[in-house]
Symmetry: C2
Subunit: 330 residues, 2 copies
């Protein structure tokens, strides 16, 4: 970076022969975050992490961040400082330089605009449109944790399960942490990109069902998820059991896990499994890409299969704070 | 652009050996724009133009735009379409490609995040920090028109001046147009950059007094404005006369003219004047850069001089819709 905050625009020198990746997000109070369940620092961190996750899903190396905040007069200068502290924490963790920051007034509600740049070598950027029939469907990490964490924050339910209290506290804090401080899968995205392993990739911000639908739409294919293969954390299983919920439903419909969903040619399966061992991240094969007319289906342990219908994207509802629902229809 | 809307990030191929310019802005309803005085299309156009003006002030060639909109449920889909129509109009006019767009919900108020990229050749980008003592101070176009236009929109005052009605209507529509549809000085900024004419540059978004203070602060210098040289449109003069206002005060304190303010070595004056004739834009020399201890001063026609004190930047006031005031103190 040659010039950052304090001029009309940032001036950046890109390494030669690289592609520029650009992603932007606008996060609104009461829609994407809630000051009742997150601190300013949490909100700043997550705003940055959510954008970095987009660069991860492209297999890119994140480079620079620009932030524009609109903040109501009722908030204190120290609140803005805390917000930036959270943003900077994510930037430091992933080697990203904050090159632009602007704060202005908002009549009502806090709004955060984040723009992130990344770079990728030509031919290596991961897109949503390359999935082929027969490809294997993978995810990183575990799913449903963020929704479970959000539910805990919202209701602060103290269940009286059979496990000891220490076990509860550990699960609760794990799930809350997964909701407030998601891990953008930067390293994993780059692994997929540099080794040409993924035919398509997306990050899970809207939930497995919704984001898989995006990949299938862009690639012109269908998909079958083997529900028993969807990776769950022990904390998510505990939470679901304590609340008489189906943990796989949490995994399928919960948003904001910021894990990667990607497709791999069967010929590359062994290579992926070998390289995945170099990371500290779990890679799970959860299904297969099918022809378009197959649609999106869930295969159950007993071999039965049902259609997965995605509820339409509702802009004017709190679709992030309450991750949208996928319907389980036959 | 290799990939735009419909993936996690845009993929852009930059021309070799160029610097990347990046600018972002977050515009809030009731702060930066008002639906009582502007249509959705106006707001879209202006949001784009304001960001393009930042690239103009760097002497860059604008390339790509990303937009993120948070919109309340009370607004219709056709409102969003109109907003994008305005954004696209500005993009078309300045050869910019819209490569990312995201619409989400807002609990209260419309918010628009715009990110623009540009390119500049190494060593050509214009910054705020290069003004030297003795440099001449220039502006493009005419100043104060935007504030006059905003005042007209706000009060819809129909004055009963001496001029005929047709004259009024022409002036009124000119000033309103200057407020709603400012011209980012892209071509002029590039002229200054490619011919190495400007030692420093900024775009006039906060008003002449405030933006000159930014340049002086970044460059570590003072400045003297010859008030009689500040360029005024005949419409602005008419408006000021009709409302018993000092037109120079409008020019000095009014924001959002999006003209360029820049500094030029006296040795380059003749070259600038010659090249300026190639453009359709007026270039006016309005003063001189002075040592830092001189401060910011206004020189009047009669030779008297007074200090220009800038009112502090108030984040939590409507400082754009009501451009901030510069005090005229001795």
């Amino acid at each position: 970076m040659l010039r950052g905050i304090g001029d009309d625009a940032a001036i950046i020198r890109l390494p030669a022969n690289h592609l520029l990746l650009l992603s932007t997000d606008l996060l609104a109070e009461g829609i994407h975050f809630d000051l009742a369940t997150a601190t300013f620092e949490d909100i700043g961190y997550k705003a940055a992490a959510a954008n970095l996750s987009d660069i991860a899903a492209m297999g890119g190396v994140p480079q620079h961040m620009l932030v524009a905040v609109a903040i109501p007069g009722s908030r204190k200068p120290s609140d803005i400082e805390r917000l930036y502290r959270g943003l900077m924490r994510a930037c430091r963790l992933y080697g990203v330089e904050l090159v632009g920051g602007d704060t202005s007034a908002s009549r009502q509600g806090l709004f955060i605009g984040v723009t992130v740049t990344g770079i990728a070598e030509p031919g290596q950027a991961l897109t949503r449109d390359g999935a082929n029939v027969g490809d294997l469907l993978y995810v990183t990490g575990t799913l449903g944790d963020s929704l479970a964490g959000l539910n805990i924050l919202r209701t602060r339910i103290r269940t009286k399960g059979k496990a000891g209290k220490r076990q509860h506290a550990r699960h609760l804090s794990y799930l809350i942490e997964r909701h407030l401080c998601p891990t953008p899968r930067i390293e994993e995205g780059q692994l997929l990109a540099t080794h040409h392993l993924a035919t398509a990739a997306i990050d899970l911000s809207d939930g497995l069902a919704g984001d898989l639908a995006h990949v299938c739409e862009e690639s012109g294919v269908g998909a079958e998820i083997e529900i028993a293969e969807v990776p769950l954390s022990s904390a998510c299983r505990w939470y679901a059991a304590a609340h008489h919920l189906d943990p796989f439903r949490l995994a399928l419909t919960g948003g904001e896990d910021y894990e990667l969903l990607f497709t791999v040619s069967p010929a590359n399966r062994a290579k992926l499994d070998r390289l995945a061992q170099r990371t500290r991240c779990r890679f799970s094969c959860i299904g297969t890409i099918r022809p378009k007319k197959f649609g999106l289906r869930l295969k159950h342990r007993n071999g039965s299969s049902r259609r997965l219908t995605i509820a339409g994207y509702q802009h004017f509802q709190s679709q992030r704070a309450t991750p949208r629902e996928a319907e389980w229809s036959r």
